[in-house]
């Protein structure tokens, strides 16, 4: 039961983020929603690698007999995805600042010069 809690949290975080990106009309809120989704996926990845009673996968802490490590690969994946997440968030926010200078608003409904 308790082992499934991180997964439930991850899925809920993703749903929160998707909700914000779908229904909030403020551009910064959309960026916040995407960041929340990223956090959800990261939590999902780390929970995948967790093994009950495992220890952190560090070379100098090589386990003795009977002990085991948690999986290192998902952690490496999560690190990469955190980096990528920061890069995309920074790009999004920089674009928001430029858009605000051009349009004078952050309302997604009014930022539709390109349509049709």
């Amino acid at each position: 039961m308790i082992a499934n809690f991180p997964y439930v949290t991850a899925i809920l975080l993703m749903i929160f983020g998707l909700y914000a990106a779908l229904f909030r009309r403020n551009l910064v809120k959309i960026a916040i929603g995407i960041t929340l989704m990223e956090s959800g996926v990261n939590l999902f990845l780390v929970s995948l690698g967790y093994r009950r009673g495992g220890i952190a996968p560090i070379y100098t802490l090589a386990p003795e007999a009977g002990e085991r490590m948690v999986l290192p690969t998902p952690q490496a994946l999560t690190l990469t995805s955190i980096v990528i997440g920061l890069a995309t968030t920074a790009v999004l926010l920089a674009l928001i600042v430029v858009i605000y200078r051009h349009y004078g608003t952050l309302d997604a409904d009014k930022i539709n010069k390109l349509r049709g």
Partner: protein, 82 residues
Amino acid sequence: MDAVVQVVLLVVILAAGFLAIRFKDLLSSVVALAAVSLALSLEFYVLQAPDVAIAEAGIGAGLTTAVFVLTLRKTRRKEEER
């Protein structure tokens, strides 16, 4: 003990995430987002991922928040009323 810490952290994550999309004041939203990241990094530590925890604390709670705050300074702080 571990389980209790985990449940508390996960509830904090969910509550802060919920608040982050509920607040009309964008600065409060960003602070809630930082709280999500901080709790998430502790959760990573509990899940035996110290590497990821350091990165999430530095990036998620530190730099992402700074970038968001700078953006809000350049634009506006409140979400438009609809």
